[in-house]
Each structure stands twice: as C-alpha cells, then as structure tokens.
C-alpha cells in the first residue's frame, strides 16, 4: 500500500500545472468559453506537445501511461484550471474505444490523436436513454454488404469539432439489451449525418446528432458485431473516473478561492473567516474534500479489477463526488456572497463545472442504485 505519486506522474503533474498556470488564466479561459469553437486549438496543441494526451494511453496503444492514476493525475489538473478542451471526449472516450477495440488500421488514428491532429467524439447517449448505457435504439442494418445507421444521438460532446465519431448502434435485440450493440467509426463528412450544435452551460460544445441512412462499409465497425457493450461499460468507467478526478481538481480550486476570500474579505471590521458560522462551514468542506480525494483514489486504483469490483468502486466514487460536489459548489458560492455570482469571477465557472459533472455518466441517485445492485450481486 502506497499513496505517493511515482516520479513520472509527479513530473507530469508539475509540468501540466505550470503550463495551465502560464497559459490558462481566468480571462483567457473566459475568452475561450465565448469563442465560436468553444475550445482553443492552441491550448489543444500545447497539451499534445506536453504529452498530456499520450499520458492517457498505454505504451501498447502508443502512449506512455493509460493506468487509472495517470488519468486521474491529468484530469485533476485540468479540473483545477477549469479546462474546457475536449480531452475526455476526444481522448478518453472515443480515442479509448478505438484503442480498446480497433483493428490495426483503425488503431493508426491514435497516433494522430496523441499528436493533437485529430478530434473525436463518442455518440452514444440518446434522447430516451438517460444514463443507461445499454439503452440503444439507433439501428445498424445490413444492406448489400454495407451497414446503414438510423437514429438520433443526444448531447454528443465535441461532435462539431470531431473529424470522426464513434457511434453506437443496435444490430440485434431490444432497446434495453446489452447484447446486440456495435460501434462504428463514422467520418464527420459522411452523407446522412447531421450535427446540430450548441454551447454547454459549463463550457465546451455538444450537439444533437441524427443518422439518416448513414451508409458505411463493414470495415467501419469497431470490434465484433453486437458485442461492444462490455467495452463501452469499461470505457465509461475510465471516463467516469477521469470526470471524478476533474471534479476533485475543480473542488480544490473552489476551496482555495474561498479560503483566500475568507481571509481577506472584511465585514464588521474583521475578516469574514473569523466568524464561526463561516469557519466551521469551511472546515466541513475541507473534510469532505479529503473524502472526495479518497473516492477518486479508490476508483482509479480499482479500474483494472474485475468488472464487479471496478464498477462498484466507480459508482461509489461518482455518488460521493456528486454529493460532495453539490455541497462545495453551493457553499463556496454562498460563502463568497455576491462576487461569486458574477461570470468574470473564477469560482463561477468552476462551480458550474462541479455541478454539471453530476449530469454526465449518471448522477447521485443513479449511482447509489447501481452501487446497491452491484453490492448485492
């Protein structure tokens, strides 16, 4: 048992923190938020040069990391700075699925991704699937040696920027079946693919994606026909852990800002942190922040376990992050008072990132229910 970062991860953390401190201040980031693309190509390339994308993949896949703790270190730093560039979507989710399932030819995209030259998106969720990974109604049917996709994908992050989309579709079975789901690699300019984009509340962009007789060759399929569910679930577990780590980083920033504010803001002639009503509230946040850190460690440390243990720890972590996240976001705004209500103040964006994370990959209730089911099994 050991809770120290390896030297490599320590270096990765240091260089990423330095990069973001120098290049990603509040004003810059708020400029990016308002930009048409919703993220900065310069920052993306800078992160790629720094090796941040490579750190998310194993050596076998062409990277130099890829373990739970590599991913956690990277995302905690991204979260601290409120980074909106689409590492989770391009790299962890879509890139990860290509690396996990792709043929040799498909795997070649990973090199371009790690180098910063490729954008990807994972089009999986649908208007009626909420957080259920197996609820896929988009269809994939055979037509004279080709595959034809029809359906609609909901809130697909990074879809507009993506050069290619990893799309899930059902080749057999009913909407709620785990069996029968396949994945396809779909170039963004494929006929019949419509991407209708919009900005997200907490930064970045997403889109509704419709597939209207999108016709693909057999070679577009990732992995085996109808057997993608296990890989999707395992990948989403990695992404959920990454999101938890990102939220942890954001909560660190929220707490740091609040601690500083309580020490400097004066009312009634004294720093407001000298009032117990606020001091004790701050102490509770710091205690729960340590709980959140432990939850991320537990999730990251069990990612390579068997399915039951992996998913149980991921659901435990996501539930705890959701609960602590709400507390941190609400209480840090409250303790700041009016200033935290302004868009230009750093905490505003950070609190939104923390809160909206509960809406991705399953919220508090979803994961509590899942944890109960996984514990009973």
């Amino acid at each position: 048992m050991n809770f120290d970062l390896t030297e490599e991860r320590q270096m990765l953390q240091d260089s990423l923190r330095r990069f973001l401190r120098d290049k990603y201040d509040t004003a810059t980031r708020n400029g990016i938020l308002e930009s048409e693309a919703g993220f900065s190509a310069d920052i993306w390339n800078g992160l790629a040069e720094l090796g941040v994308i490579g750190a998310l993949f194993t050596e076998e896949q062409g990277g130099f990391g890829g373990a739970g703790f590599d991913i956690a270190v990277v995302f905690e730093e991204l979260g601290r700075a409120g980074v909106v560039e689409p590492l989770l979507d391009s790299a962890v989710l879509a890139g990860g699925l290509i690396a996990d399932l792709g043929s040799e030819a498909q795997q070649e995209h990973i090199e371009a991704l790690i180098g910063g030259a490729l954008q990807l998106a994972f089009a999986h969720g649908e208007p009626t699937s909420r957080y259920d990974l197996e609820r896929v109604t988009t269809t994939a049917s055979q037509n004279g040696g080709d595959i034809v996709l029809n359906g609609r994908k909901a809130v697909v992050a990074n879809a507009e920027a993506a050069d290619m989309l990893v799309v899930s579709a059902r080749e057999s079975g009913e909407a709620g079946d785990q069996a029968g789901i396949s994945l396809f690699l779909v170039p963004a300019d494929t006929k019949g693919l419509t991407v209708t984009g919009y900005a997200l509340l907490a930064g970045g962009r997403a889109a509704e994606v419709t597939l209207d007789d999108v016709t693909l060759p057999e070679s577009a399929r990732l992995g085996e026909a109808g057997k993608a569910f296990d890989a999707i679930e395992a990948r989403v577990a990695v992404a959920t852990t990454a999101l938890c780590a990102e939220t942890l980083g954001a909560m660190e920033t929220a707490c740091d800002l609040t601690r500083e504010y309580l020490g400097t803001r004066k009312q009634f002639g004294r720093p407001i942190g000298s009032f117990q009503a606020l001091a004790h509230r701050m102490s509770d946040l710091l205690i729960d922040l340590e709980q959140a850190r432990s939850a991320v460690i537990n999730a990251a440390g069990h990612l390579a376990d068997d399915r039951a243990s992996r998913e149980r720890h991921v659901s435990a972590a996501k539930n705890l992050m959701g609960r602590v996240g709400r507390l941190v976001a609400e209480d840090t705004i409250q303790m700041h008072g009016g200033i935290a209500m302004t868009q230009e103040y750093e905490l505003a964006h950070i609190a939104k990132r923390i809160t909206m994370a509960d809406h991705r990959f399953g919220d508090i209730d979803h994961h509590l229910e899942r944890f109960i089911a996984l514990s009973a099994a």
Partner: protein
C-alpha cells in the same frame, strides 16, 4: 500509488486472523458482538493475552518493549480485531500516558511505569475534564500546591472513563494561578488509593456506568510523580491529544457496525420482505458504506503519512469529525433496523445479565448504543472544537 497490500502485509493479516481465531476467547467476542458490557476481568484477560503475544503496545518503540508496528500493520490489526469482535484495548495507559512518558518522562519514570502498563499491574485513567473545564480545558481549576517533597491536590475531575477500575490517574493540575492559563498547568501521576480521593459513578443515559467523578481533598502526591517540568503540562497534554490517536477514525468499528446493520436488516421484515430490500433503507445503508469506503482510504492516507514521520495535525481533526459522523450514522441505522425491538430497555449492563432479550433478530442494545455513542462527537475535543482547529490552521489570515 498502489492500493493493493504487499505480500508481507497480506501475510501479516493472515497471522492476525489466525491469532484471533485461536486466542480470542469466545465468551469475550460473544459479549462484544452482542453489545454487552465487559467486566474489569474481561478487559484484563484480553490485555494479558495480547501482552503474551507481544501485540499489546503496538505503537510503542521497540526500546520500551513495544511492537513498533507501522501504520498499515496497525490498521490491519484494528480492522481484523473489530471484525472478530475483539474487546477494544483500553487506551489510557497504553496509548495516552505512555507516549507522554516516553517523550517527556524521566528515565526513572519510564523504567518504573512503562513495564507496569504492559503487565497490567496498573490500570490508568485520565484526569483532564472538570465540571467547569470541558472544551475550554485550559481553564481547569484543580490545584496542586508544592509542600516540601509533595504536592497537595484539591479539586474535581469528571467524565473519568473506567475510573472505577483504575488504581492510577494522570491529571492536569494548576500549579500557577498568576500566569496565562496554559502556562500554569502541570502533569501529575496520582495513586487512586491515596487518602482524600473519592470516586463516584455517573449513570449515563443508556443506563451504563462507564464514567465517573473523581474528587480530590488534600491529596498528598509525591513530587517525583510530576512528569517533565512544572507548568509545562499543557504542552504534554496537547502532545497526548494530537500524537497518538491512531484509531481516531474508528474505521474498524464502523465496518463491524455496518455488517451488524446488514445482518439485522436481512432478518427484520418490512412489508413482508427483508428490510434490506426496502429501497429507502438500502439507500441509506449504501450511502454510509460509500462514505466509509472513502473514509478507510482517507484514514490510510493520513496514517501512512504519519508513518513516514510527518506528524498528523489538522488531519487528525478531520478524521475525528468525519469518522464520528459516519459511526453515529451507522448507530442510527442499527437502531432503525431493529424496529420495534429497539424499544425494550436493554442497556449494555442489562444485556450482560440477561441472555434472553426479547428481540428475535438479536439486534442487541442498539438503541442504548446509539445514545451512548452520542459521546463520540463530544469527547476527545468536540467536533466543533475540531472544526475550529481546522479553520484556524487552514484559514491563516482569518484568525
């Protein structure tokens, strides 16, 4: 970063399990499992078994006859001991007084008192709190006046846990009234047999008598029983409070408590089905379990830091607050799980004398334990005091 136990740590856990299976008397573990009160003999019996094994003073350095376990070893032992329903180790001599003597005591005091703690010859209790000095401990009023080669002690201590069994008490006493409160306190070792000492039990709301009042009326204490320097007692007291609270989070207790909740909720029926299948109850249990999983890792992170030589400061306050919140939540769940059979008055003492409690689910005195464990967030520095410490340490400029 590695969450798995090493081969040595796994082997150690196996060794602990085997020891507990072989050496922990069934009568004792059964009493603990059923929440019954342990007698002085019960405590002394377990103390002696651990001492024979060399596993009593796990936190002491080897030079004083301790096992010098590292943080992970202690954690493993605590987990296994709680899972096997071993009696808790009475901490007053072993993990409260001993570290103070080892750090601040004279060679003579160390040579005399430490072996007696191991052998069980002395049963120590703690004389800190007073009726007027609770959270504001430094305002204590019990006085010790130097009179030749003796101190004369007058005053009153309270909340003295298991003081009815003790033959020795370590006390904080005021030796100077004319200086800042913290600078006039001394640390004194007092024989409970000395004339002028009266011990009176305090019956708690659960019906048990684990705490006492101790009165001092012109009690003569040899001057050689002063630990360290006169008027430096506050430093020693703080050292005692922050240094050796290795099990402050009570992770092992919470784990055992949660298992008990699940056991009760599996046999207790609600709406014709086991309570554990009720979604509302299951959700509360699951949330407590999720919090406990994180707490176990927080605890390990902090104690491994401590093992690497970094003294835990604000972290032990964090462990205290969160650990007690979780334990109390589990106590509440246990009480609810028992349903109507939580109502019969079954104190730990009563449970000890009555094997035929009416509850078919054998929940034990869960409601009494729930009330008894309200103490967790009050003693050892109330949770509000801990929050104050955290705020003071982390807010810096906002003091």
């Amino acid at each position: 970063m590695d969450l798995s136990y090493t081969d040595e740590e796994r082997a150690f856990r196996e060794e602990v399990r085997q020891f507990l299976a072989e050496k922990l008397p069934k009568e004792l573990s059964e009493k603990v499992r059923r929440g019954q009160e342990l007698t002085k003999d019960d405590h002394e019996r377990w103390h002696a078994i651990l001492n024979d094994q060399g596993w009593l003073a796990t936190n002491w350095p080897k030079e004083f006859g301790g096992a010098a376990w590292n943080a992970v070893q202690r954690h493993i032992f605590e987990e296994e001991a709680a899972a096997h329903h071993a009696p808790r180790i009475v901490p007053f001599g072993l993990s409260m007084l001993a570290p103070v003597l080892q750090k601040f005591g004279s060679k003579e005091q160390q040579d005399y008192w430490l072996p007696r703690i191991l052998s069980g010859e002395d049963w120590w209790c703690q004389g800190y709190s007073e009726p007027g000095a609770g959270s504001d401990l430094a305002s204590l009023k019990t006085t010790a006046v130097k009179d030749g080669d003796h101190y004369i002690v007058n005053g009153q201590k309270t909340w003295t846990t298991l003081g009815q069994h003790a033959n020795m008490i370590f006390c904080l006493v005021r030796t100077d009234k004319d200086v800042k409160q913290q600078e006039g306190i001394s640390f004194l070792l007092i024989d409970m047999e000395t004339p002028g000492i009266t011990v009176r039990p305090i019956i708690l709301l659960d019906g048990g008598a684990e705490v006492n009042e101790v009165f001092f009326d012109n009690v003569k204490v040899p001057a050689e029983n002063l630990v360290g320097e006169e008027n430096k007692g506050w430093t020693y007291a703080k050292y005692l409070l922050t240094h050796e609270r290795t099990n402050i989070a009570g992770v092992g207790f919470s784990q055992a408590g949660l298992s008990a909740v699940k056991r009760i909720a599996k046999s207790e029926m609600a709406g014709g089905r086991p309570l554990i299948e009720n979604p509302h109850f299951a959700a509360r249990v699951a949330q407590a379990e999720i919090d406990l999983m994180a707490m176990a890792t927080t605890n390990l992170r902090i104690i491994s830091k401590a093992a690497a030589g970094q003294a835990p400061g604000v972290e032990s306050s964090m462990l205290k607050v969160k650990g007690t919140i979780i334990r109390q939540e589990i106590n509440d769940l246990a009480r609810r799980a028992a349903g109507i059979y939580a109502m019969p008055f079954a104190s730990e003492a009563v449970a000890g004398s009555n094997d035929a409690l009416p509850d078919p689910n054998e929940a034990g005195p869960v409601a009494a334990q729930y009330f008894n464990n309200r103490k967790l967030s009050i003693f050892g520095g109330s949770n509000e005091i801990q929050r104050q410490i955290i705020a003071k340490t982390t807010l810096g400029g906002a003091k």
